[in-house]
């Protein structure tokens, strides 16, 4: 069975997100506006107002409340959706941890933006990075089509009986939130069909009035450890599930993204660039140009940030001669960018090779074609034994 061809519309990333959420038929929605996410909240309210979406929508007074509404409704059995960004994401931090700890399958779009510190209304992945250890599944997408497809896939993953975890779908603020692109919107009946397997699973535990069910018992000693172990194990299981769902999605809708990571021309590559989000598109352009010059370079686009796609990365990078990692955020107190730092943690398994860390694309500074071109050249030189710089802040050069 194959899905019908969907209608193609030109949509911004934010509108795409709202359409994606509507297709998944959430029952409870709560969101609080913040640049560059606001249109998501507005558009969902319009859908409810025009009757095209039958959902309870709560216009909350802050992001902490948005997440609590979603967490609680989800624990009562509802399908829920929310969206936020930056200040909003960190404002809900306490509940973010609780939502994951309670295993509430909330699906949230996070429109990446720099975090408080220096007031920056601009793109960057620092928000997502700063919530890394919240116990959520975190996925980063590259373009508007991937936003819609990944949100649909996220419900399959979050509400999977074996997983039951919240998912944060990240896309670049400004670059995607306000970018209009042609997007194929799947037919409602096809999305229903794709999500239908969830209905055949055992009902997940839920809070039922009058039935002596509880959520959030004080975790003491072994009870706590066991709950943590199960949470941790579910994250481990999620890795394979991401691949499986992506494959199934591809077979049905004709589009797939590689699951945990997307590999572009890595098979015969000697050197690899690791990047994520919208910048991955520019990296592909540079790779094509550099290959024409005879440099055997490939791209690993990291889609899954948490859980860490360790095995897939080892497979993709083992035996390569050098890797350059482009980070759009910082790991304060550690010199490499966060994604580079994590790659270093699996360095023994990918083999000894130069790993070069690049910081670029902070605060709306473009990761340009010349920037990426320079990264490829330096990584290529390092692969050939030339001395290299550990960490390079490209905009500061």
């Amino acid at each position: 069975m194959k899905a019908k061809k969907g209608k193609v519309s030109v949509l911004t990333g934010n509108y795409t997100t709202a359409y994606a959420a509507r297709l998944c038929r959430p029952e409870v929605i709560a969101a609080y506006p913040i640049t560059p996410q606001s249109e998501v909240a507005e558009q969902l309210s319009s859908f409810v107002a025009d009757g095209s979406l039958d959902a309870e929508i709560v216009e909350v007074e802050g992001e902490n409340s948005a997440m609590n509404v979603c967490r609680a409704a989800s624990l009562a059995g509802a399908r829920v959706f929310t969206a936020t960004s930056s200040y909003g994401l960190v404002y809900m931090y306490d509940t973010l941890l609780e939502t994951a700890g309670f295993r509430a399958p909330v699906v949230m779009a996070n429109v990446n933006r720099e975090t408080p510190g220096i007031h920056a209304v601009s793109s960057g992945q620092q928000d997502m990075i700063s919530t890394r250890d919240s116990g959520w599944i975190q996925i980063i997408v590259e373009n508007n089509q991937e936003i819609i497809d990944q949100i649909i896939m996220s419900y399959r993953l979050a509400e999977d009986y074996d997983i039951q975890l919240p998912i944060m779908v990240n896309y670049d603020g400004y670059y995607l939130s306000y970018l209009s692109e042609a997007v194929e919107i799947p037919e409602q009946s096809d999305v229903d069909a794709f999500l239908a397997p969830l209905k055949k699973q055992p009902q997940r535990p839920r809070l039922i009035p009058g039935a002596s069910t509880g959520c959030g018992t004080h975790g003491m000693e072994m009870g706590y450890v066991e709950a943590r172990y199960k949470h941790w194990s579910a994250l481990e299981r999620a890795k394979q599930k991401v691949d499986d769902i992506d494959k199934e999605f591809g077979e049905y809708f004709g589009r797939s993204y590689g699951g945990q990571i997307e590999e572009y021309k890595t098979a015969d590559a000697e050197i690899v660039i690791l990047a994520s989000g919208s910048a991955a598109g520019s990296v592909k352009t540079v790779i094509d140009a550099k290959r024409a010059e005879g440099i055997k370079v490939g791209l690993v686009k990291q889609r899954l940030f948490r859980p860490y796609p360790e095995e897939r990365l080892i497979q993709a990078l083992k035996g390569k001669k050098a890797v350059g990692v482009i980070d759009r955020s910082l790991c304060f107190g550690w010199k490499y960018g966060p994604m580079c730092m994590e790659l270093k943690a699996i360095a023994p398994d990918i083999g000894s090779m130069p790993i070069l860390s690049y910081i670029d694309g902070l605060a709306n500074l473009d990761i340009t074609i010349p920037h990426i071109s320079r990264v490829v050249d330096e990584v290529n030189a390092a692969a050939k034994g030339k001395a290299y710089q550990d960490v390079t802040w490209i905009p500061m050069e």
């Binding site: 709560a30 709560v58 409340s65 609680a72 009058g210």
Partner: protein
């Protein structure tokens, strides 16, 4: 038979449902919190869902000791997320036609301070929930620190009395008035010494929560933090009412009315002398407290008489 039912003290009529708590729950001896927590579901019925937060109620409601517990459904929350979590539950229960009374059960610290944003938001949106704040005038679970519900002059562990310190330097937030100005569907004050009054208010709260937001402010002295003898808590509740320190009233759609008007209120010193948290107060401090009691009562009375916010 009819006679017999009529003669029975009316409070018994409200004890319609089973006891929802086991014996041996972990509250301090003499704490009115236990009696309040037991009493509330007896009136509201077993379809009530406790939505709670860290505080003295939490270890029991959320099962720190699951040997002695309750039978109700519950959801535990962070202190900043009680009214919003209740919103999520109630929206979904209503949408799916599940009969439930969603009750936030938090301390004054959560209600008046860290959880106030979400409480105010839920009231403004007229969510179909009951928010019950049990007021023990401080953060008791963490060891009797001041909250914004702590009375002026009261000694707490963060407003201690010493060579310089004279207890809490500012007056308590008049939370009842703050909530009245939200014009909830229904709100009321209640305390254990006036059990029938309390029960009626709970019944009305349940009914009114089908129309929207309900706020209940329950006076709940803390024997440990206030330094009250554990056999005296109900007497402290009664004296708080009789001195107008804690007047009993209710309001539908923002229109307050007294449910009990004390004919000859006693001086507030009758109340303060029952505990040691005010024992350092001299005449001027006590006079100031009396003045506050009188002023707040006068304001309330004006609103009652004026048919305020009609």
């Amino acid at each position: 038979m009819v006679e017999a039912t009529k003669k029975r003290n009316k409070v018994f009529d409200y004890f319609c449902t089973d006891e929802q708590f086991s014996g041996g729950v972990a509250w301090c001896a003499g704490c009115p919190l236990e009696l309040t927590a037991r009493f509330v579901p007896k009136v509201l019925g077993k379809n009530m869902v406790f939505v709670g937060t860290p505080g003295c109620a939490a270890p029991v409601l959320h099962g720190q000791n699951i040997g002695a517990w309750h039978k109700l459904s519950y959801l535990s929350c962070v202190m900043t997320g009680v009214a919003s979590s209740a919103t999520g539950l109630s929206r979904y229960f209503r949408r799916t036609g599940q009969d439930a009374t969603v009750v936030c059960f938090t301390g004054d610290g959560c209600a008046t301070d860290i959880g106030f944003q979400t409480l105010s938001g839920a009231a403004e949106r007229n969510e179909h929930i009951i928010y019950l704040a049990y007021d023990n005038e401080g953060y008791m679970n963490t060891g009797n620190q001041r909250s914004s519900a702590t009375q002026k002059g009261a000694a707490t562990t963060t407003t201690p009395v010493g060579k310089v310190g004279r207890g809490k330097p500012t007056a308590s937030k008049n939370m009842q008035m703050v909530m009245l100005m939200h014009k909830p569907k229904y709100m009321a004050t209640a305390t254990l010494s006036h059990l029938e009054d309390f029960a009626k208010k709970l019944q009305k709260a349940k009914e009114k929560s089908k129309e929207g937001f309900v706020y209940l402010h329950v006076f709940s002295p803390c024997p440990v933090g206030w330094r009250i003898d554990s056999n005296m808590t109900i007497e402290v509740c009664r004296t708080a009412v009789r001195t107008n320190y804690f007047p009993l009233w209710e309001a539908e759609d923002g229109q307050p009315r007294f449910t009990l008007e004390v004919a000859n209120p006693k001086p507030v010193t009758e109340f303060t002398k029952l505990m040691r948290k005010f024992s350092h107060l001299k005449e001027d401090g006590l006079a100031e407290l009396q003045k506050q009691v009188d002023e707040r009562y006068a304001l309330l009375k004006t609103l009652v008489n004026a048919g305020a916010q009609k």
